[in-house]
Point group: C2
Chain length 171, copies 2
């Protein structure tokens, strides 16, 4: 899959997506994006767990991470505009993937907060990689590496958030 | 994500994994791989759905697909040995991913055949891409494309198998 440094750069690249994905735990709450609306199956479109504050807060935090990343490693991005646009697309992609995932979870009649093994760990990542692709992408080895290790990072992070009392469930 | 032909080559590349993943529906049954053994949580290791016949049949069918692929497009593979080894790794990777997925589903106490949105559609694919990577890989754009469209291909195929009476559930 490449040298150790290329694997560390893969994490560095995807960092805004991780931050955006994790931030609704801290900045979430408020008015739900679906405004209480239901799909034709009578169930909520996304549910109360997906809010405007979580979305805007998550994209803001992820994009800010990109600003800090550019200050630390400007040559990885080339120019400031690329770094910020990349971080925005990674963050927005992560939360869009999460939203689409919620839509499918509601269709499968899973309650809010119920785990969907795979979707929860991979949906945000694939969506982030897809949206950011036109601006800057990784090598195929780096992408495969992120896909294999992300579920474990995700589980570890959620378990940590649960132990810290930030989440009510360990997933 | 690249030209249309590069997306068709991405499907051509991954085809043995799809065949291996689908074949236990047809060739499955027989003695379970876990031999009835349980994990420390008291639940089955993989369950009755994962059998030696399904594993060996799936790897055989997927590898045979690679033989046919080499006859049709030899220049894509370079040589016969590469084509067969690639098809074997894609098939074995797909079924290994499926097996690991079953392990996590049993740990989450999901019954045999219960859907896990995401894991069912992506686990086999990521595992196949990872095992085949050292022999031949795709571009990052092709990988992202497969990750985004595979869930829909998977759902379509399962729904077709259900309608044909090959599967008892539409997932």
């Amino acid at each position: 899959m490449g040298s150790l440094s290329s694997l560390i750069w893969a994490f560095w690249y995807i960092l805004p997506a991780y931050f955006a994905n994790a931030s609704p735990v801290l900045v979430g709450g408020g008015r739900p994006i679906d405004g209480g609306r239901t799909w034709r199956d009578g169930r909520r479109l996304f549910g109360d767990g997906k809010t405007w504050r979580g979305l805007i807060g998550g994209v803001s935090i992820g994009t800010l991470v990109g600003v800090v990343q550019y200050r630390l490693t400007p040559s990885f991005y080339g120019d400031f505009r690329t770094a910020v646009l990349l971080a925005f697309l990674l963050s927005f992609g992560a939360l869009l993937g999460d939203l689409v995932g919620s839509f499918f979870k509601r269709r499968a009649d899973l309650p809010r907060g119920a785990p969907a093994i795979g979707l929860d760990q991979l949906g945000f990542l694939i969506s982030a990689l897809a949206l950011a692709y036109p601006v800057k992408t990784l090598s195929s080895g780096q992408i495969i590496f992120l896909l294999v290790v992300s579920p474990f990072v995700h589980w570890g992070a959620n378990y940590f958030a649960y132990k810290m009392g930030w989440k009510s469930v360990p997933w």
